[in-house]
């Protein structure tokens, strides 16, 4: 049983179901990567895991506890963190305030964490007083990830964190993700930069039409010619 797992999830946005019984799980100290074509339901699955979508069937458990009907902000209190794919910064707040909001539930001194984030994304330190809405696409993405890191989560969920991010930062990011997982955190990533992501993945899911098509270790998926051809761009 994984640390965080969404089992046989079914549900959607009111019309036809988007998730058709998919299962996604990740363990502590693991990186799980979800790939799949556009519109497969990857983001939807992430939202479901985070309680931003009510499920018609299936369950979400965290550390053995059923949290299917828990509200998102309570999940934050359970040390889960999520970076959505779109709309993932407070555009009208400064970069620094964005990070502070990430630490909203923390009562301790979070200046260390902030320093770490600034280390990881030096550009943010430079732009700390600028409104996030005025940043470039890639910079915003960095703010978004930085905000999630501020919570010091035990589960970190990232929806396409590298979209629009320059190669050098992407590398940093993946390095950082590996470092994070090594501290015993469960990391769940949705990626279209699938090959890089699967390289570091302990477990990979290929999602198609809201169903699990393939589930295996990252390496194995990378090696599977069919997966490569249909989903990883050859």
């Amino acid at each position: 049983m994984s640390f965080l797992i969404g089992k046989d999830m079914r549900g959607g946005y009111g019309g036809a179901d988007i998730l058709n019984g998919c299962t996604i799980g990740v363990d502590k100290g693991q990186i799980a990567v979800v790939v799949g074509p556009n519109g497969a339901g990857k983001s939807t699955a992430m939202k479901a895991l985070f309680g931003m979508l009510s499920l018609r069937a299936g369950s979400v458990t965290l550390d053995g506890r059923d949290i299917t009907s828990m509200s998102p902000q309570d999940r934050v209190a359970c040390d889960m963190a999520f970076v959505p794919q779109t709309n993932n910064v407070f555009a009208g707040m400064t970069v620094e305030e964005n990070l502070e909001m990430g630490a909203y539930l923390r009562r301790d001194d979070f200046s260390d964490t902030m320093a770490e984030v600034f280390d990881l994304f030096p550009i943010l330190k430079e732009k700390r007083r600028q409104f996030a809405g005025e940043l470039s696409g890639g910079q915003r993405q960095q703010v978004a990830v930085g905000r999630a890191l501020m919570t010091q989560p035990s589960v970190l969920m990232l929806d396409e964190p590298t979209a629009g991010v320059s190669p050098i930062v992407m590398d940093e990011l993946f390095d950082r993700v590996i470092a994070i997982k090594k501290t015993g955190i469960a990391v769940l990533i949705v990626e279209q930069n699938a090959r890089q992501a699967l390289e570091i993945a302990d477990i990979g899911y290929v999602l198609v039409s809201g169903e699990n098509r393939f589930t295996d270790t990252g390496e194995a998926l990378m090696a599977d010619p069919e997966v490569r051809k249909s989903f990883l761009g050859g």
Binding site: N38, Q85, L135, G137, G138, P167, D171, Q192, R195, K229
Partner: protein, 261 residues
């Protein structure tokens, strides 16, 4: 095709584009790369008339177009996509596409009122074209879905699709690849090549995926901190020390290391 002379753009104290002079050749597929915040998108916005440059001049096909409004530039055959998708949320995917063609008879009120025949005929043509594009982008099953309800990647596809609705001269693509499935992206690459070859479109594309750039673009221009850093063929760029330091990093080796770890 596009030429800029000493173009500068400042936002308050920030200089996003700093004295950029370059030209994009007719019929080329030019890549534009650079670290986050280098000013690429801003540069596109300047060319496409989203806002006027603080100083400098912009030429399209030899004509000075500095300060023209986006719709005027569209009329001159310049199309662009947005890095952060700008779909028409409450229109369906098909309607999103059908909105694009210019000079539709039905967009003039009195024709819409009093010449329904002509309008209907034209609508049919436009719809047919939209359906072709939809099919090409694998969006057929959601052709009637509201664009606001699409997934992140689908929205990017729609962005691209809009440029395929008209015969353009220049197309500016701002990270169409980000968030798009790689298999599909390859097909998109093919389409870009085809449009370039068969219809003579000029492309300028911002992209962070060097493989994709490598496959399509020649030449490649690198920007950093608002300035022009380098330009040349993909291979030249990839081996350029300053570019590696500022932008590419030691990506390849590190990935290999990681795989081992």
């Amino acid at each position: 095709m596009i030429r800029t002379e000493h173009v500068v753009k400042r936002f308050g104290g920030i200089t996003a584009v700093d004295d950029v002079s370059l030209s994009i050749d007719k019929g080329s597929i030019t890549g534009l790369v650079g670290p986050n915040g280098a000013g690429k998108t801003t540069f596109f916005n300047l060319i496409a008339g989203r806002f006027p440059p603080s100083s400098g001049k912009i030429f399209l096909d030899g004509e000075d177009v500095t300060g023209l409004a986006p719709h005027d530039l569209f009329g001159k055959g310049l199309l662009r996509t947005f890095q952060i998708a700008h779909e028409f949320t409450h229109l369906t995917v098909r309607e999103n596409l059908m909105t694009v063609p210019p000079d539709q008879a039905g967009e003039t009120l009195w024709k819409a009122w009093f010449m329904p025949g002509q309008v209907r005929r034209q609508e049919k043509e436009v719809a047919a074209r939209a359906d072709e594009v939809i099919e090409f982008l694998n969006l057929t099953h959601i052709a009637d879905e509201l664009a606001g309800n699409l997934s992140g990647g689908q929205k990017k596809l729609l962005e691209l699709g809009r440029t395929m609705m008209v015969d353009a001269k220049v197309v500016l693509l701002d990270e169409v690849g980000a968030g798009v499935n790689r298999t599909l992206l390859n097909e998109i690459g093919d389409a870009i090549l085809r449009l370039n070859k068969e219809r003579g479109y000029t492309f300028c594309m911002i992209e962070h995926d060097m493989d994709f750039i490598g496959r399509l673009c020649d030449p490649v221009i690198v920007m950093a901190e608002g300035r022009l850093l380098a330009s040349g063929t993909v291979d030249e760029i990839k081996s350029n020390e300053t570019v590696i330091e500022a932008y590419l990093g030691a990506g390849r080796d590190r990935a290999a290391e990681r795989a081992k770890a």
